[in-house]
Amino acid sequence: MAILVNEKTKIVVQGATGHQGQFHSKRMKEYGSQIVGGVTPGKGGQMMGDIPIYDTVEEAGADASILFVPARMMKDAALEAISNGLSPVVCITEHVPVQDAMFIMEYAKDHGADVVGPNTPGLISPGKALLGILPPHIFKEGSVGLVSRSGTLTYEIIDEMTKGDIGQSTALGIGGDPVIGMDFISALERFEADKETKAMVMIGEIGGDAEERAAEFIREHVSKPVVSYIAGRTAPPGKRMGHAGAVISGSSGTAEAKIKALNAVDVPVATMPHEVPEILREML
């Protein structure tokens, strides 16, 4: 099972011929992802190793897309993928203007497409497919679904999980920007529906109220165990902690509020990252 992407998903890489695009196309393909082609307008007809490059998405015959295009081209490229019926559309690129992100998300909603990101490491269904820039060797096939607002912190926790022999069904980075496509709720919803997934990890951070809303959702719709970690317990208000979305505004967006909301719906929140697998083990 796994969610969003599996060994059958045909993937096109938009912005494939750039530095990042080349490196990760190769890496995803090596992992076993079905990369059916790359897209770089103006470079159609070339081969990048054994990956054919196209001018347009419609030529590639893909199901899903991952985008490494420059931020200023993200809107047009994402609309192209969505307009061609692809889903998920994974936007790795950071620094996408928020108005462009909003436009993309509205367009995606109208077309029924899932967008992941922007500013996300992407996702992986271990043993099946990698659709992102996550380091695949730290993952292990299994039954815990993970969704996170952070990249390296996810790796930290995944590494501890894998070392503790807790494998993952799918791990998904939703991105650190204020306006993103898939959020905690849409990921939790799919993990809940996925037969292979037995428990979930949700890695949050300060800023916004996505974790609070996720807690509401868990109360109503999630029967499987959920463990959480929230980064930024000691972050000061008013400062952007690296991610554009990680900022406490006034009294909203604090780790405290998020932890309280999660505890209220019986979701344990680890104090330190390495505690996540310990708590998971107890709950599984």
Binding site: A71, R72, H95, V96, P97, V98, Q99, M102, F103, M105, E106, Y107, D110, P121, I133, L134, P135, I138, S148, R149, S150, G151, T152, L153, T154, Y155, E156, D159, G176, P178, V179, E205, I206, G208, D209, A210, R213, Y229, A231, G232, R233, T234, A235, P236, K239, R240, M241, G242, H243, A244, G245, A246, S249, G250, S251, S252, T271, M272, P273, H274
Partner: protein, 382 residues
């Protein structure tokens, strides 16, 4: 966050007078005046403007009124004296460098009008209230029914009729409704045209002459710099940041200044935040947040060390790297290029960890494998 393009850095927040210039450009009735950096020309300005005047510190931090950054003056002497006082002030550690001199308005009522980016709805959202002049979050908490909201479809954009509907729901009718709707519409256009993250008129005063924007807040989305070139500024010319923060910006590193003495460098915002939390957990006080980002190289690491050691009172440094795309050996080489005067505790894992270990061990650094151990050591070493 701050984007770096060459040596130019986007400064996202505009000063009151800068935002007001844009309001005027869009035809929003606005209380403007003269901007001063010293009191030399104040008398000449008073001669033109007449008295009384209101003097407002031009700073990017909130709470300017409470800090004494807004003063009224009825005579020339009073104006000069108070202007000098304001220009000598520091508000939340930032020196006041500019002053706006305006005519006081005859305020009958204060409204609030602003647009924000609503993360959940993924839309720009209008907030408008007849309870202006105070923090809108406070109104939202105490009298949520006093706030009118309007979500703008990102594909269709704001429409004038929507603004009229909001103005009516705020209780206005006739000519006033038209004026208020027009202000809301123009504000929405600025939000869109200028790629703003936030735009606010608080208060929007009702005066005998009609509506008037008394204050102005405008934050530009730094990711839009490439198309919002008018907001590009050299970081050196800004007021918003400390010297260390400015150096970090120039180096393209995400840096936040904190109160403690344990310097923290990591890769990836989430991991750095977690590092802060772990240091705190062990009783330490982080001196900063410094994210070298994913895929950083030796040069980034060296710069990070240079910047972090600018901080006074620094006692130890905790470097936390999880090598996913980032290569640990590359980072290790960067660490060797700058030798801080305080002890450095390095935790590295992941890609090329072994090579990194060898490099650092040869140079006399100890390497930790777990985040907790390294954090604990850094706290104890501080």
């Amino acid at each position: 966050m701050v984007s770096k393009i060459g040596v130019e850095v986007i400064i996202m927040k505009l000063l009151e007078y800068e935002a007001k210039d844009i309001f005027v450009e869009y035809g929003i009735p606005t209380s403007t005046g003269y901007v001063l950096e010293d009191v030399d020309n104040l008398k000449a300005i008073l001669y033109k403007m007449g008295l009384p005047v209101v003097l407002k510190a031009q700073v990017l931090v909130g709470g300017r009124g409470k800090a004494g950054g807004i003063k009224f003056a009825n005579t020339e002497e009073e104006a000069v004296q108070k202007a000098q006082e304001i220009l000598n002030m520091k508000i939340k550690d930032l020196p006041v460098k500019k002053l706006l001199v305006s005519k006081p308005s005859q305020i009958e009522k204060e409204l609030y009008v602003g647009f924000v980016v609503d993360r959940n709805k993924k839309k720009m959202t209008l907030l408008a209230s007849t309870e202006g002049g105070v923090d809108i979050e406070q109104v939202a908490a105490t009298a949520p029914d006093k706030i009118q909201r309007l979500d703008i479809d990102p594909v269709i954009g704001i429409q004038e009729f929507q603004c009229r509907e909001v103005a009516r729901r705020l209780g206005y009718t006739g000519k006033e409704l038209r004026s208020l709707a027009s202000i809301i519409y123009k504000l929405g256009r600025i939000m869109h045209d200028k790629d703003a993250e936030l735009i606010e008129i608080n208060p929007l005063a009702v005066t005998p002459e009609g509506f008037e924007a008394l204050d102005a807040k405008l934050i530009i989305d730094d990711n839009s710099l490439y198309r919002q070139t008018e907001f590009k500024k050299d970081v050196k010319d800004t007021q918003e940041y400390t010297d260390i923060e400015k150096s970090a910006m120039e180096a393209g590193l995400a840096y936040v200044e904190l109160d403690g003495d344990v310097g923290i460098i990591g890769c990836g915002a989430g991991l750095v935040m977690a590092s802060l939390d772990v240091v705190n957990h062990y009783g330490g006080k982080p001196a900063n947040f410094l994210d070298i980002g994913g895929g950083a190289n030796a040069e980034n690491m060296k710069k990070a060390l240079e910047i972090i050691t600018m901080k006074e009172g620094l006692k130890s440094i905790f470097i936390n790297i999880f090598g996913g795309i980032t290569r640990c050996d590359e980072i290790a080489n960067g660490i060797l290029e700058f030798k801080p005067s305080v002890p450095v505790y390095v935790r590295m894992m992941g890609t090329n960890e072994k090579e990194a270990r060898e490099i650092l061990n040869n140079a006399g650094y100890e390497l930790y494998q777990s985040m907790q151990e390294a954090a604990k050591a850094a706290v104890e070493g501080a």
